[in-house]
C-alpha cells in the first residue's frame, strides 16, 4: 500500500515516533535482555498495583472520566507532563538535537510555550464550565446534539491520529530496544493500557502518568548530571567540547556536502550550534510552530485533564506545575542531545535508528560503562522501560479521551438524549467504549506496521489547532459565537488541515523518488572511478586512502538505498491521492488551516442566528470567570 510511505527525513524528528526504518539490531544485546525484561517487569508491576488500588474507587461516571475531580493541582501537573511528554517528544527531540544540533533544540521550545496559551486562555474557563469532555464546553452555548456529534468526531479524529502514531512508534521502539516482535509489543501495549483504563479509569490513568513522568525526570536528571559534572556545570565549557568533537564536525560535513569543503573543522563544529541544518523551508518552521503552540490547547486528552481537579485555582496550579516539569525536561534535552552527539557520536546513533530516536538510550548505556557492562545495560534497560511506560501512559490518556467522547457525548448525550441515564449504565457505556477504542488501537497498530506514521502526530496538532482551538476559544470569549460557527469551524478546520496534508510533500511521490534514485545511480559510476583512481595511485598518503575507502562505503550505501527506493515505487506513478507531485510545498498546514478555522467560526456565527447561544452568553461568561455553580455545569 503506497499510502503514507513518505521520506521520514521530511518531518521534524520531534514529531516522529520511532520511525519504521530502525535497523534489525536491538540496542540491548541478547545476553543482557533478561536484565532489561526484569526492569520492565518491575515498572509494569508497580503500575498494575496502582490500578488494582484505583479500581476500588471507580464507582460513578465521574470517577471513571475525571477521578471524581479529586486530583490535586500538583498531581495533575505531573500527570499533564506524563500525558504530554510522549515517546515521540522525549526520544525524538534528543535524537533530533544529536543529529542536527540547533534546529532540534529550537523546536523543543515550542512544547513549553504552548502551555502559556493553555494557562492564560483555556485551563481555568474549561474547568469552570466543563464536566467530562470538550463537547461539554461547546454544548453549553451551542445546540447540544450538534455540539456532541461534532465535538466527538473531532476528539476521535485527533486522538486516532495521535494514537496510531503512538502504537506504531511504540511497537518499533520496543522492538529496537529489546528485540521482541513488533506485533507482540503492540499487543502488550494495548492490553496493559486496556487494563489500566478499564479497571482503574482516570484514577489509574493519572497515577500511571505521574509514575512515568517522575521516572522520566529522574532518568534524565541522572544522565544530565553524568554528562555535565565533568565540566563543573559550565555551559560554555560543555558546548566547547561538543563543538570541538571530531564526530560532530564529521556529521556537519556530511550534512553540508560540498559547502563544507571550504570550512575549517572549528567552523564545522560551530555550525552545529547554528540554525538551518534540518529545516530548509522557512515558512514550514513557522507553520509548525503555529500548530504546536495553538494545537496543544485543543488536544482532547490534555483538555480532559483539567476536569480532574476541583477548581479553577487547582487547574491554574496544574498548568504551573506542568510548565515547570515540561520546561525543565526540555532544557535537559539540550544536554541529552548534545551529550549524545559528543559522547556516542551522530553516526553511531543513526546506525541504530536513522531518525535518531535511540540517542537518549544509547547515551545512558555509554554513561553506565558501555554495551558490555552491567551498569551500562541497566541504564539502557531503565531508560527503555521508561520509554515503554511512556507509550502506555500516553495511549491510556488518548483512549480515555476517545472513550469519553463515544460514551458520554454520543451514547449518553445523543442516543439516549432526554433520558435519565443511571450511573451504572454510564459506567458500563464508558467501559464498553474503552474496549472498542482499545481493540481498534491494537488493530490499527498492527495494520499500520511498516508505515511511516510520523505525519499523523503533526496532523493531530494541526487539526486540534485549526478546528478545536478556534471553536473552544470563541465559544468562551466571543459573544456572537454560535452553533453555525462551531459547525463551520469544526468542518473547515479539520477538512483543510487533513486535505492540505494529503496533497503535501509528506506523501510519497513515485516519480520524484524515481528521479532522485536515478540521479544517484547515474552519478555512481563516475564517482566510483574517481575513488578507484585514488586507491590505485601508488604514492597515495594513508589519510587519502582511508578517506577514499570511507567514500566508497558511503557510495555503496547510497546505491543500495536508491535501488531499494526504486523497487518500492515500482509500477507506481502517483501518490496515494493520485498526484504526480505535491500541490503545496508546506509540510505542516497550520499557517493556512488555523486562520481558515478561525474565519469559518466567525463567518458561520455572523451568518446564522442562534437564540440559545445568545441567551446563554451571560451565564457562560460569568461562570467561566467566577466558577459559580461549578459542579452543576453541563446539564444541558
Amino acid at each position: 500500500m503506497p499510502t503514507l510511505r513518505h521520506a521520514a527525513a521530511l518531518l521534524p524528528a520531534f514529531l516522529l515516533p520511532a520511525v519504521s526504518r530502525a535497523a534489525d539490531v536491538s540496542a540491548v544485546s541478547p545476553e543482557w535482555q533478561p536484565l532489561a525484561f526484569s526492569v520492565f517487569a518491575a515498572i509494569i508491576l508497580a503500575t498494575i498495583y496502582v490500578t488494582y488500588v484505583a479500581a476500588k474507587r471507580v464507582r460513578s461516571a465521574s470517577d471513571f472520566y475525571t477521578a471524581g475531580g479529586g486530583i490535586s493541582g500538583l498531581q495533575n501537573g505531573w500527570a499533564i507532563a506524563g500525558d504530554y511528554l510522549s515517546a515521540a517528544s522525549f526520544l525524538g527531540i534528543a535524537g533530533l538535537i544529536s543529529l542536527y544540533g540547533y534546529d532540534g533544540f529550537m523546536y523543543s521550545v515550542g512544547f513549553l510555550v504552548a502551555y502559556v496559551t493553555v494557562l492564560l486562555l483555556i485551563a481555568e474557563p474549561c474547568r469552570n464550565i466543563g464536566k467530562y469532555t470538550l463537547s461539554d464546553i461547546l454544548a453549553y452555548r451551542n445546540d447540544p446534539k450538534l455540539s456532541r456529534v461534532f465535538g466527538a468526531i473531532s476528539v476521535i479524529t485527533v486522538s486516532t491520529f495521535y494514537l496510531t502514531a503512538q502504537m506504531v512508534g511504540g511497537g518499533v521502539l520496543v522492538k529496537t530496544l529489546i528485540g521482541i516482535d513488533y506485533e507482540v509489543s503492540v499487543i502488550a501495549v494495548g492490553i496493559l493500557m486496556l487494563a489500566y483504563v478499564l479497571f482503574g479509569g482516570m484514577v489509574a490513568t493519572t497515577w500511571v502518568q505521574i509514575i512515568k513522568a517522575v521516572l522520566l525526570v529522574i532518568a534524565s536528571l541522572v544522565i544530565v548530571m553524568l554528562v555535565w559534572t565533568p565540566y563543573g556545570f559550565s555551559l560554555p565549557a560543555f558546548m566547547a567540547d561538543v563543538v570541538g568533537d571530531a564526530k560532530v564536525q564529521a556529521r556537519v560535513a556530511t550534512l553540508l556536502g560540498d559547502a563544507a569543503k571550504t570550512m575549517t573543522p572549528a567552523e564545522l563544529g560551530q555550525r552545529f550550534l547554528e540554525p538551518g541544518l534540518y529545516y530548509k523551508v522557512p515558512i514550514d518552521q513557522i507553520s509548525l510552530a503555529m500548530a504546536l503552540v495553538f494545537g496543544t490547547a485543543g488536544l482532547p486528552h490534555i483538555l480532559m485533564r483539567f476536569f480532574t481537579v476541583r477548581s479553577a485555582q487547582q487547574a491554574r496550579k496544574s498548568v504551573l506545575w506542568a510548565m515547570a516539569i515540561i520546561g525543565g525536561f526540555y532544557v535537559l534535552t539540550l544536554f541529552l542531545g548534545f551529550g549524545a552527539a559528543h559522547l556516542v557520536g551522530p553516526a553511531s546513533i543513526a546506525a541504530v535508528d536513522a531518525g535518531g530516536n535511540m540517542a537518549g538510550p544509547l547515551l545512558a548505556q555509554f554513561l553506565g560503562g558501555g554495551p558490555n557492562s552491567f551498569l551500562g545495560n541497566f541504564f539502557l534497560a531503565f531508560v527503555s522501560a521508561v520509554a515503554f511506560a511512556t507509550i502506555v501512559a500516553v495511549v491510556a490518556g488518548l483512549v480515555l479521551a476517545s472513550a469519553s467522547a463515544m460514551a458520554h457525548d454520543l451514547y449518553v448525550g445523543v442516543v439516549r438524549a432526554g433520558h435519565d441515564v443511571p450511573a451504572s449504565e454510564q459506567v458500563s457505556a464508558a467501559r464498553v467504549a474503552t474496549v472498542i477504542v482499545g481493540a481498534l488501537a491494537i488493530a490499527i497498530g498492527i495494520a499500520a506496521k511498516g508505515q511511516n506514521v510520523a505525519v499523523l502526530v503533526g496532523l493531530a496538532f494541526a487539526v486540534a489547532a485549526s478546528a478545536n482551538f478556534p471553536c473552544i476559544l470563541l465559544t468562551l470569549y466571543w459573544r456572537r459565537s454560535n452553533t453555525g460557527g462551531m459547525v463551520a469551524g469544526m468542518l473547515v478546520g479539520t477538512i483543510v488541515a487533513v486535505g492540505l496534508t494529503l496533497v503535501s510533500p509528506n506523501l510519497t511521490y513515485p516519480k520524484a523518488v524515481r528521479a532522485a534514485a536515478h540521479k544517484v545511480l547515474d552519478a555512481a559510476p563516475a564517482k566510483r572511478a574517481a575513488i578507484d583512481a585514488v586507491l590505485a595511485a601508488p604514492d597515495a598518503a594513508p589519510a587519502t586512502v582511508q578517506k577514499a575507502r570511507k567514500d566508497a562505503a558511503a557510495l555503496d550505501k547510497a546505491v543500495a538505498k536508491a535501488e531499494g527506493d526504486l523497487k518500492k515505487v515500482e509500477g507506481e506513478e502517483t501518490s496515494f491521492m493520485g498526484l504526480e507531485k505535491p500541490l503545496i510545498d508546506l509540510k505542516n498546514p497550520g499557517i493556512i488551516s488555523i486562520p481558515l478555522g478561525f474565519l469559518a467560526v466567525i463567518l458561520g456565527s455572523l451568518l446564522t442566528r442562534d437564540r440559545r447561544a445568545e441567551s446563554t452568553w451571560n451565564e457562560v461568561y460569568v461562570r467561566q470567570n467566577t466558577g459559580l455553580l461549578i459542579n452543576t455545569a453541563a446539564k444541558h
Binding site: 513549553l112 518552521q285 513557522i286 459559580l628
Partner: protein, 107 residues
Amino acid sequence: MKSTPTVDWDAVIADPRFQTLHRKKQAFLTGLMIFSVAYYFALPIGAAYFQDFFRIRVWGVLNVGLLFALSQFVVAWLLAFVYERRASGEFDALAAEVAAAHLKSGV
C-alpha cells in the same frame, strides 16, 4: 430535598464589580498573550531570516540563537509567574466577592 442554589446571571453581568474584573482580566490577558506570541515567533522567524545575527558568538561558543532559544524558557516561566501573582491575588479575590454576592440558595 436538597436546595439548589441559583444565580441571576444577568444581574452578575450588570454588577460593577464583575465589570471591573472583566475589564482588568481582559486587558491583562490580551497583553500577556500578545507578548508571548511575539516573543516566541521571533525564534522561528529569526532562525529562518536572520541567521547571520543568530550566528554571532556571545559567550564562548554559545551564540545569539542558542541563548535566545534558552531565554524562551525563562520568559515562558516568567509570564506564568506574573500571571499567577495577579490571578491568585487580585482576580481570585474579585471573583470570590462577586460569587458570594450573587449566590442564592433557591428552592
